[in-house]
């Protein structure tokens, strides 16, 4: 225990002494991401859509077909109640829902305007805005067609769109960025810093000096990683608190769940850093490995910037092994939605699987190196 403390204290001192690097690593990317977050805009396709058709007429079917044929939406579920839509959105199975009221056809025939509802999951503000744009264009086209078909009257009825945005009604993209930002920063402190700090010790020869001491591998690993765990967890909590204060981030779920999700994700990330350090012999290699294995996937393949549902199938398959993907699901569920734990328990268990798998891999490689 004294030995673990010695390693941990030394590591903490090195982190603190290096605080300028730490600041640059943590806050410059965060700053830029916030800045560019507003400007990000992407072509979004294959948005999973649920339909609640209460009219069940040829007119309503025509409207649904228009959504599906546009190519922007994939019909994934027909539902019968608002609560079902809510459940599907919590589970991230659908990002939008079309609700067609009973009597649509009748009202149109008797010359009355009707409204259809489009519900959009607002936790990704970029997607939500785009989805609304598509929906209103589609509804307008359908409306025009119906009027031509029924033409000849003085004032043909219109189909109107009634948008509803859930979870993030003001479509604030900062809010959507926060969970991604947390994932990103955990990746930096946990994966990159851990890997670099161990490889640096190899490069400088301090590792050899430490290996000459009667210190178990476990003591070394624990002493070495706990400080990074603390730093990562602390920065994540700071981001949440700052976002609550500055951007009005809602904290709808429980802090306990948030800390649990964070801890699971960070342990997986630390293990990844450890594993990288057993492969790389130079800081440069370690950095590149970290970039490829953790950093880029977290940015590109987690749903942070590009929505997973609009990725090509092959790339979407890859996202299943990116832990940040599950982390974001859990984080959005907890922070933005306050959804019941059952909706993200699968994501949490995937984080556990990843952490355990990565830890075993790292431990295996470490023990092999030990007996070189």
């Amino acid at each position: 225990m004294r030995k673990v403390l010695a390693v941990g204290r030394k590591e903490m001192r090195q982190i603190l002494r290096d605080r300028r690097t730490l600041l640059i690593l943590l806050f410059v990317p965060a700053f830029f991401l916030l800045l560019y977050g507003y400007a990000l805009n992407f072509d979004i396709r294959h948005i999973p859509l649920a339909v609640d058709d209460r009219d069940k007429s040829s007119d309503s079917r025509e409207l649904v077909a228009a959504f599906v044929n546009s190519g922007y939406f994939d019909l994934v579920a027909g539902v019968g109640s608002p609560s079902e839509i809510e459940r599907l959105m919590d589970l991230n199975r659908v990002r939008a829902a079309l609700v067609i009221p009973e009597g649509l056809s009748r009202d149109l025939r008797s010359g009355r305007d009707v409204s259809v509802q489009v519900l959009v999951d607002g936790d990704n503000a970029n997607t939500a805005t785009t989805v609304l744009g598509y929906s209103s264009a589609i509804v307008r086209t359908v409306s025009r067609q119906l009027r031509i078909e029924r033409g000849g009257r003085v004032a043909p009825p219109r189909v109107l769109l009634e948008p509803r945005i859930w979870y993030n009604p003001e479509l604030r993209s900062t809010l959507f960025l926060v969970p991604g930002l947390i994932a990103y920063i955990c990746m930096i402190t946990a994966v990159v810093s851990t890997a670099l700090s161990i490889v640096r010790e190899k490069e400088r020869g301090t590792m050899e000096q430490v290996q000459m001491a009667p210190l178990g591998t476990m003591s070394y690993v624990v002493g070495k990683t706990v400080p990074y765990f603390v730093v990562s967890l602390a920065s994540a909590v700071v981001i949440v608190v700052v976002s609550m204060a500055l951007f009005g981030l809602p904290m709808r779920g429980s802090w306990g769940m948030l800390l649990l999700a964070l801890s699971l994700f960070i342990v997986g990330a630390l293990a990844t850093g450890l594993w990288i350090s057993t492969i790389a012999d130079t800081q440069q290699t370690a950095f590149q490995l970290a970039l490829l294995s953790s950093f880029l996937p977290t940015l590109m393949l987690s749903g942070f910037i590009f929505p997973i549902s609009s990725m090509p199938a092959a790339i979407r398959a890859v996202t299943y092994v990116v832990p940040a993907r599950y982390f974001l699901v859990a984080l959005r569920g907890i922070v933005l939605k306050g959804a019941p734990p059952s909706t993200y328990s699968f994501a949490l268990s995937m984080l556990v699987v990843y952490a355990v798998g990565m830890l075993s891999l790292a431990a295996f490689r470490l023990s092999r190196q030990r007996t070189a």
Partner: protein, 310 residues
Amino acid sequence: MTMNAIEVRDLTRRFGGFVAVDRVTFEVREGEIFGFLGSNGAGKSTTIRMLCGLLKPTSGTARVGGVDVGRDPEAVKQRIGYMSQKFSLYEALTIDQNIEFFSGLYGLDRRTGRDRRAFVLKMAGLEGREHTLAGDLPGGWRQRLALGCAILHQPPVLFLDEPTGGVDPLSRREFWTLIEAMAASGVTVLVTTHYLDEAEHCHRLAILHAGRLAAIGSITELREVFADRPIVEVQSTDPVALMNALADHPDVEKTSVFGTAVHAVLKRETDVRRFIAGLGDGLTASPVAPSLEDVFLDVVEQAQSPEPKA
């Protein structure tokens, strides 16, 4: 009777097909300063790493402080101090923090830690500099701090891998004074060096070449290789030309340049006086005792030649 602190039998280490250390056998007595000489890549560091339990031997055995290193590498670690070829303390930490870290690694309790810290600071002459960053220290001080950190846990056996590389001559001399004091107090020291003059501080020496032990013994014993081959030192303003001229002399086995002089190793049973007289005028020549450099070059040369000299 003194005990052996280190016993090495047929120690071998391969890296793939390459044999870095080849069936090395030797003993080091308690309290002895034992020197490892050898050119780059001779296998000195590899041998030391095996003795410290950092590297598994491919075959052969090593006992350090009575412990079989191959069987129980962790037990050896508490009994040895190690100073690596590279400066390997934390440059971004202060002297005090480095000492505290290594005290912790060796599991010293608070009181022992405090006593040892005071001892090491005094020994290394670092008192009053506790809060200087290790990276800001000049070479000689760093070396002494590294030595200090290696002996915090009072190991009976000390491995020093080129401890004086890149250190000025005065600091080197101070460093050797420390080493000799430690050996006098019973610590066994195994040290590698490139500086042949430093070998004079060693009680016994081993010369390694290409992974093999080429010679072993005290300096006097090592000089025995020249027992029946006299060496003559010839002064000259153009030693290279002289060396080439002497190389063709029928009585000369080989020559080498030492500053402004040439050392000519004569063939067995050559009459030294007749050789000097035969050199002619204008050349100052006298018989000399073999220097350690003569010995080193000769041993390495013999180890290199495929068939042993008759």
